[in-house]
Symmetry: C2
Subunit: 337 residues, 2 copies
């Protein structure tokens, strides 16, 4: 029989549809992994084409030119120029679309991704995430910052060159407010941080854990919304990503690269999104909220039921997905484990 599981952070129910169940290995793509050239003359993010990108905000230099560049998005979702205004008229609520929209070009190589990059380079990328995260909040118009990565067409990107993005919005999304509310109720009820407790439960139970080190734990959530939906939780209680330390970043890079390399090998370079869910720096001291990373491979579709209910149907048991990913070998074991 199928079962419904509750995500305590989002309060979303997930149907684990065992009637439709697939084995984790069934998701391995039959087709060969994408093969891309190391350099593409027509790619605006490849070295030599730096003039094709808008204003550069940051550059990390390597031995033979830049290693990572942060530039304005050419087609920004929000404008970095202009005043923040609010309008309330009848039933309309309007805020001017000001904010930040960064593109983080992760490598000069056209054909790499964090699954394949050296651990050192993933660490540099995450350090830049943190720095840009802090910078974005220095803009007084900004109320919330999302860092995310779209990998492949099904994950919503048309640009092949490896890149992440940062969008800083002039409002707080209700999705974030709802998570905070759930965490606050849990704190009032128990005196503990919900995410700290979830991580402890997962470590104790063990069946959904993929990677466990000093500072982080990678696991498939009990109520994973789709096959291989994975969370990377810091073990130290911390509400804001802005407070991550250099040592933690090194460990986080190991977790992120290991997970993405296992997905690359285990299900054939799937399209995926990842995001960093975090409170703003001002709220970094709060006891009830906890930042984390969420990785969602885009290997199934959502349809009218998900749209109508907000519930998901997951055709793969979280415990089996975790077992499968634990067993996947990664060609080059990341150093610094």
């Amino acid at each position: 029989m199928p079962e419904l599981r509750l995500n305590l952070i989002t309060r979303e129910w997930v149907i684990i549809a065992t009637e439709r169940a697939k084995r984790p290995g069934d998701f391995h793509k039959a087709k060969a992994p994408r093969t891309l050239p190391e350099h593409l003359d027509t790619c605006p993010f490849c070295p030599g084409n730096e003039s094709q990108t808008p204003e550069e905000r940051f550059r990390l230099e390597g031995k033979d030119g830049w290693k990572i560049r942060v530039v304005d998005n050419k087609y920004p979702a929000l404008s970095n120029i202009g005043e923040k205004k609010r309008v309330r008229m009848d039933n309309r609520r309007l805020v001017s679309g000001v904010g930040v929209h960064d593109v983080i070009i992760e490598s000069p190589l056209h054909n790499t991704s964090p699954a394949l990059m050296d651990l050192k380079d993933v660490k540099d990328m995450i350090s830049i995430y943190r720095n840009r995260f802090l910078d974005a909040y220095n803009d007084p118009r900004v109320e919330h910052v999302i860092i995310f990565r779209n990998h492949g067409e099904r994950a919503g990107t048309s640009l092949e060159h490896p890149h992440s993005q940062l969008i800083a919005t002039p409002v707080v999304p209700v999705q974030f407010r709802d998570r905070i509310e759930a965490a606050l109720h849990y704190f009032d009820d128990t005196g503990s941080c919900l995410m700290c407790d979830l991580a402890k439960s997962e470590l104790k139970e063990g069946t959904r854990v993929i990677n466990d080190t000093e500072h982080f734990v990678t696991f498939i959530p009990y109520a994973a919304l789709s096959p291989f939906h994975t969370w990377i939780f810091p073990k130290r209680h911390s509400a804001s990503f802005s407070r991550v330390t250099e040592e933690e970043i090194k460990d986080l890079a190991f977790h992120l690269k290991t997970l993405l390399a296992k997905l690359y090998n285990g299900i054939g370079d799937p399209d995926y999104n990842y995001v960093i869910r975090s409170s703003r720096p001002k709220d970094s001291e709060n006891e009830y909220c906890h930042w984390y990373m969420s990785v969602v491979p885009r290997i199934t579709m959502t349809a009218g039921f998900e749209m109508g209910s907000g519930m998901y149907i997951n055709t793969c048991l979280p415990e089996e997905c975790a077992e499968y990913l634990r067993s996947v070998a990664i060609s080059k074991e990341p150093a610094g484990a």
Copy 2:
């Protein structure tokens, strides 16, 4: 400059990204509309293959055989056999996956859809939606019912034969709870139903209205989450779809068919989902909630930003989408207008 607009029902902000703006007509698919045969021997929903579907729950007879059939889903998300049990252990919440999963086969013809069907047949389909909606709530294990339609692969269906679905769940989705909460706060603040007031505002302003008759209004919401996202609102205050009258169903069929025919002609038979959002029959008397239909063409992708924030980026002005749809001619003007 882009702008952010608030959906007062869901409290979600939408970025209307004018920098990326597209004209509504740009979404017209270049490719020819799908061409399917009227009958397919291998299709389990085509006449002659009735034995390939699980138990039949209802059949509407026509002159030459059935017109509409309701059958159990062959791969149900939820099982209709078994006891409803709840488990609470540590941080895990589990409910057994019992409920209802109907398939409503809308026509014996393999190659039709509500955009092309006769108005009378769309009306029959909606009558059956209402009857099955009421039936599903007679099951004491059921707490919430979603009726939805997935049209095309991008909308999550692989079966071409025209069909809708009904899923009855043993829990109430948080998405529904959140809408009720917003509507309740609005009622406490104003003494009115939020959806009644939204419909009145839309009718007064007029720029986003597509179709206006005695019982319903079709419009693009002020904070539409994607191009051509459309709502069909009953004008009479009513919390539950279960209370829709025969006369209203006739008018709703006209609105639904007109909208889908305009999308079919105007943007080239797009993939889409629609859902009916409604309270349960028991709550049909409540003053603050209001049932409605939501139609979402699947012509853009969501990515990491939407996943991380719950906010959407809409590249097309709602007012321009409405203007465009108003101007689209439909080959055969539905009768009964």
